[in-house]
Structures are given as structure tokens and as C-alpha cells.
């Protein structure tokens, strides 16, 4: 026999051993938090703007990638559509506004970008004249200003730029150009009474303001959702920390204080191990919905009863379950009740800390064995006034047409066999 207290200390290590699965669980939690709280992460089938190789908003590049076409072809198509009634521009702006921006790193200004701005300006200008052919020639200049301002101000990184202070000048210039163009237009026209000019002006300001502010607003929203992910992660972390503090750390302290009482230490450690496992794995099980699915089944109920007895009597119940079939509620309750009584008897009287519980179910019957290697007793010698076993186990099983067999010897402990028909 080597059951020295030194050996029992290894129980503590087995709690510490739970670390790798814990780490896995933490990673999983972090992953879930990321999924839940990050709506801007691109999902399949959702429009996003392309980060690499883009000229203005990255829309054409992305669309090309999605269609499997050359970005150049798509850009030309946009340009043609833009000239033909402005459809292209509206489409482009629409896609660009709708598509979330996957990149949060500001893109460097390049010649390509500047050319893109010029092209967009021309496109907006052309669109305006096609939509409103009666616009006096005097408005071409001011409209050009407004269009250039729109194209110039528009940029997916505007929010990030603004936050960093870099693009402040650009936005001011854009706004000045826009309002300058507007006032120039009104002045050039001379006649303020013309409703449609004012309408056009208001529309220009609105659209311009929207275009200036939209990316920035979107950036703010994206930033907010990033903050939310961070917050969820932090909450998960503090949740885990709080749980570990309330349970594992407390237990470790308890173990340190009572390290000379090996039986108590092993009980506490085992109880903590089981609780930690339940917290780590059953939580995820219920998230998947697998836990509620078979509630009320023999397996679930036995697990519950075994855990309850373990907690109440500081013993280990070694549960093994085999088979899959549904037991009637009456038979289930009878069997569960009898098993609980058998476990409690073993825990109270057998003077052992381990009980085996084996259950098997098939299409005809459910079988349960409760076995301990404890002190055992002589079933015939139990006085009649001790009706515990007879009432709580045998009668319960017989009432649903089952059978009970109790074998016990002082040398080998006790085994209770319970069988109920389905």
C-alpha cells in the first residue's frame, strides 16, 4: 500500500492539468466573442470593398474579383455607365457606401488616386448635365467645383484620417470648395427665384455633405463595433477570472490550509475538478443545444444523480453508460430513485470513497449496477426495522415490474443490480 499523503498530493496536480483544455476553451470563447461582436468582418456573399489595387473606393476591384473579370474592364464599364445617364456613378457610390471597408489602415495617396478623383469629377459633372440638360452654361464652372469637392472629399479613410488629424485640411478644403461652388452657382445665375436652382443647390449640399461625412460615420460605427468586441472579450476574461477566483483559487487556498488531511484534500480537489469540468464543457454543450436535447434521458438523469451524491457525500461515482433507448417516465423515475438510494447507501455505509455506477439500456430493458469495494454487509442479517433497502430500492423497482439483486460480502463490498423493463 502506497497511499501516503505524498501520493495524494498528485490530486492537486490533476486539477492543474486541466489547463490545456481550459486554454482551448478560452481561445474558443475569444473566437466566439470575435464572431458575435464584429459585424464588419466580411462574410461570404456580402459586398465588401477591395483593399488592394484600388483607385477610388475599391469597388471596381472587388466587383471584378467577384465577377472574375479584369478590374480595368469593370472600371471602363463604370465609366461608360456613368456617362450614360449617371447610372454608373450612382451604382458605384451605392456599392461603395453599402460595402463595409475591410481595411483600417490609411492608404497612401498616389497618382492613381488623384487621377481617380479627376475621373470621378468628370463623371459627376457629365451626369449632372445629362440628368439636367437645361442647366445654363454659366453653371459649368461652379458645378465643376462642387463635383471636384465631392470627389476630393470622398475617401474611405476619411474617418481614420480625421481621428489622426491628418485629413483635417483635406476635409476643410473639400467643404470650402463645395460651398464656394454652391454660392458661385447662385451668384452666376443671378436669379434666386428659380426654384430648381435652389433645389439643385440644396441637393448638392446634401449629397456633398453626405459623401463627405458618410465614410467618416461608417468609420465611427466600425470603430464602435471594434470597441464592442474588445469589451465583450474583456467581459469574458473577467467572467473567467471571477469564476476561477471563486472556485479554483479558493479551493487551492483551502487545500494549502488543510494539506495535512489527505482525505479532505482529495475530496475537495476532486469536487473542484468536477465543477470546473462542468463549467468548461457543459456550458459549451448547452450553447450547441446538445445539452437540452436529451434531458430527461436515463443518461442525463444518472449523471445528475451521480453528481449530486458526489457533492453531498464527498465520494467519487464512476459512471459508465452504454446504449441508447428511451425509457418510460415511470420506469425512469423508479430506476433513478433506486440508483440514488443505492449510491447514498454505499456512500454512507461502505466506508469507501469510490463507487462504480454502470448502466446499460437496450430495446428490452434498462440495467443498473451500483458497486462499491467497501466493508459490505450480510443482507440476511439486516434487522427488519432497517427498511431502507427494501423500501427505497427493491419496492421501487418491483412496482414497475423490475428485479433487484443485492450481493454483499464483508470481503468484496456490495453490488446492487437493478433491472427494469422498458
Amino acid at each position: 500500500m502506497c497511499s501516503s499523503s505524498g501520493w495524494r498530493e498528485t490530486v492537486v496536480v490533476s486539477v492543474a492539468e486541466a489547463e490545456p483544455p481550459l486554454r482551448k476553451r478560452l481561445l474558443k470563447l475569444a473566437e466566439q466573442a470575435g464572431k458575435r461582436g464584429n459585424p464588419s468582418r466580411p462574410k461570404p456573399g456580402q459586398a465588401t470593398t477591395s483593399t488592394s489595387g484600388r483607385i477610388v473606393g475599391g469597388v471596381a476591384g472587388l466587383l471584378a474579383a467577384r465577377l472574375g473579370a479584369s478590374p480595368l474592364v469593370v472600371r471602363v464599364a463604370f465609366a461608360i455607365l456613368g456617362l450614360a445617364g449617371g447610372v454608373g456613378v450612382v451604382l458605384y457610390l451605392g456599392l461603395w457606401l453599402v460595402g463595409p471597408d475591410p481595411s483600417r489602415t490609411p492608404r497612401p495617396r498616389t497618382l492613381r488616386h488623384d487621377l481617380g478623383v479627376v475621373a470621378a469629377t468628370a463623371s459627376i459633372l457629365a451626369t449632372t448635365f445629362i440628368l439636367m440638360p437645361t442647366v445654363p452654361a454659366a453653371l459649368i464652372g461652379p458645378m465643376g467645383f462642387v463635383a471636384f469637392a465631392l470627389a476630393f472629399s470622398a475617401g474611405p479613410e476619411i474617418g481614420a484620417d480625421l481621428i489622426s488629424g491628418r485629413a483635417f485640411g483635406r476635409i476643410v478644403v473639400g467643404l470650402v470648395l463645395m460651398f464656394g461652388g454652391l454660392f458661385a452657382g447662385v451668384a452666376a445665375l443671378g436669379d434666386i427665384g428659380q426654384i430648381w436652382v435652389i433645389s439643385a443647390a440644396i441637393a448638392a449640399v446634401t449629397v456633398g455633405g453626405g459623401v463627405v461625412l458618410a465614410p467618416w460615420l461608417r468609420q465611427l460605427i466600425d470603430g464602435a463595433s471594434l470597441d464592442r468586441v474588445e469589451r465583450i472579450r474583456a467581459e469574458e476574461r473577467s467572467d473567467i477570472a471571477a469564476h476561477l477566483h471563486d472556485s479554483v483559487l479558493q479551493t487551492l487556498t483551502l487545500i494549502q490550509n488543510r494539506s495535512d488531511e489527505s482525505h479532505v484534500v482529495s475530496s475537495i480537489a476532486y469536487q473542484q475538478e468536477r465543477e470546473l469540468r462542468r463549467w468548461l464543457y457543459e456550458q459549451s454543450g448547452s450553447e450547441d443545444g446538445t445539452q437540452s436535447e436529451d434531458s430527461g434521458s436515463l443518461r442525463t438523469e444518472l449523471t445528475r444523480v451521480a453528481s449530486a451524491v458526489e457533492d453531498d457525500y464527498l465520494v467519487v461515482v464512476d459512471l459508465v453508460f452504454v446504449g441508447e433507448a428511451q425509457l418510460s417516465l415511470v420506469a425512469l423515475n423508479a430506476l433513478i430513485g433506486a440508483v440514488r438510494e443505492a449510491l447514498i447507501n454505499a456512500a454512507k455505509f461502505a466506508e469507501t470513497d469510490t463507487i462504480s455506477l454502470y448502466a446499460e439500456i437496450d430495446d428490452e430493458r434498462a440495467l443498473a449496477f451500483v458497486r462499491d469495494r467497501g466493508v459490505g454487509f450480510d443482507p440476511d442479517a439486516v434487522p427488519d426495522d432497517r427498511r431502507g433497502i427494501a423500501d427505497s430500492i427493491v419496492d421501487r423497482i418491483e412496482r414497475v415490474g423490475g428485479t433487484t439483486r443485492i450481493r454483499s460480502t464483508p470481503a468484496t463490498g456490495t453490488e446492487v443490480r437493478m433491472e427494469v423493463p422498458l
Partner: protein, 230 residues
């Protein structure tokens, strides 16, 4: 009887586990009955140690820092065909998902880490003598995964030899042995119960272990997939 050999034979044992405290605990617990010839804390040093010492039994943690315990068995097998070492898995839990991979890799069974020293010594002796060590949980899993007798689906395997389907089935006797193991019986107790020798019980258990290692039963793969192990 194996019980007598337990007393006399000091098997040479290597402990592979990444927790020094745990290795110390084991060494303290079994040191008087076994000869601890070395300890290793990871896959690569474990392979070197086993190659150098050729222990009778390797106590092998399921999870090591740089991989699974099964990689140690595979690593030694890749270096030599004639390693005399046998492997006994050590697992924190007796959830079979932790252990099936190790058993499939060649371990002769496993024990949970909270096993007491006497039981561990018994398990080491079983493994050293070439027998299988079934925990109740592993026996329960085997009963769940293997059919008792040829079922309709088993008969539907086309063109498979009898030998093949034998691997996927338990004989009635093997099933009885597994049921008793799942109920917490020792080999000796099962022998008394079934009126056969403990030696015969060990033979049945070894046969079941071989089936567990060789079978391609879809329950095994299905189960492994469900629990995300290969």
C-alpha cells in the same frame, strides 16, 4: 498468478509527463515496487529516453507540450521495430476522447491520474506482461461502439473477409468481460464471476484491445470526429 509477480518483479519504468510535481508523485508512489529508469517532459526527449533505456513500461501522458502522447509511440516505432517497451496512458480525465487516440496509437490501455499507487502498480504489471488495461469508461465505450453480434449492417459489408468483420465484432464472452470491467470488476473478480481463469479474462481483454486498435468501425471514426480527435 500475477499477484505474486507483482511482489517479485521490479519492472523498469519511464515516466513521460510535463508536470514535474506529478512525476515526483508517481515516482514516490510506485518507487518501492518499480524501478524508475528515467523521466521525460516532452515528445522528443521521451523518444530519446525510451530508445536509450528500453524500459518495460512507459507511463505516457495523453497531452504533452509539443504534441500528443501518441506521437511518442509513433516516434519510437519509426526508429526501431524491436522496441520492447509497452505503453500505459495517463489521463487527467477518463473521457475516452482523451484516450482513444493514445490506445489507437498503440498504448495497452490507460489509467486516470487520480488512480492510487496500488492500482497503478497493478496496471503497470498488466501492461508489462502484455495485457490490456481497461478503465470502466473505456470498457463502456467499447460496448457502445462494437456490436454484440453480426447485425444487418455488418452483413452488408461487401467483399470483406471474415477476418475483417471479426475485428468489428465482440464475441459474447468478450462482451461479458467488458460489461464486468465497466461495472468496476478486476480481471480476477471477473474470472471468479464467469468461472474462467484470470488468464483467460486477460486474453479476452487483450483481444478486445486489438480490435479497438485495428477496427475501422464507423462508430469509432464517427465518435472521434464528434469529439474532434483523429
Amino acid at each position: 498468478m500475477t499477484g505474486d509477480q507483482n511482489e517479485k518483479h521490479r519492472w523498469r519504468v519511464v515516466i513521460v509527463d510535463d508536470h514535474a510535481l506529478f512525476r515526483q508523485g508517481i515516482a514516490a508512489g510506485i518507487g518501492s515496487r518499480m524501478e524508475i529508469v528515467g523521466e521525460a517532459d516532452d515528445v522528443a526527449p521521451a523518444i530519446e529516453l525510451i530508445m536509450a533505456e528500453a524500459p518495460d513500461v512507459v507511463l505516457l501522458d495523453v497531452h504533452l507540450p509539443s504534441g500528443l502522447g501518441g506521437e511518442v509511440i509513433a516516434g519510437v516505432a519509426a526508429r526501431t521495430d524491436t522496441s520492447p517497451s509497452r505503453y500505459l496512458g495517463l489521463s487527467v480525465s477518463d473521457a475516452p476522447e482523451d484516450v482513444l487516440g493514445l490506445v489507437r496509437a498503440g498504448a495497452r490501455g490507460y489509467v486516470v491520474k487520480r488512480i492510487d499507487a496500488t492500482e497503478l502498480v497493478d496496471a503497470i504489471c498488466q501492461v508489462a506482461e502484455g495485457n490490456a488495461v481497461f478503465s470502466p469508461k473505456l470498457a463502456g465505450f467499447v460496448l457502445d461502439a462494437f456490436a454484440a453480434e453480426p447485425s444487418a449492417s455488418a452483413g452488408a459489408y461487401e467483399g470483406e473477409s471474415d477476418e475483417q468483420s471479426d475485428i468489428d465484432l465482440l464475441t459474447p464472452r468478450e462482451r461479458e468481460v467488458m460489461q464486468h470491467l465497466a461495472r468496476g470488476y478486476t480481471y480476477k473478480e471477473i474470472g471468479l464471476e464467469l468461472h474462467i481463469s484470470a488468464r483467460t479474462v486477460e486474453t479476452h481483454a487483450s483481444a478486445v484491445l486489438r480490435k479497438l486498435q485495428l477496427s475501422n468501425r464507423h462508430e469509432l471514426t464517427h465518435w472521434a470526429a464528434r469529439h474532434r480527435i483523429v
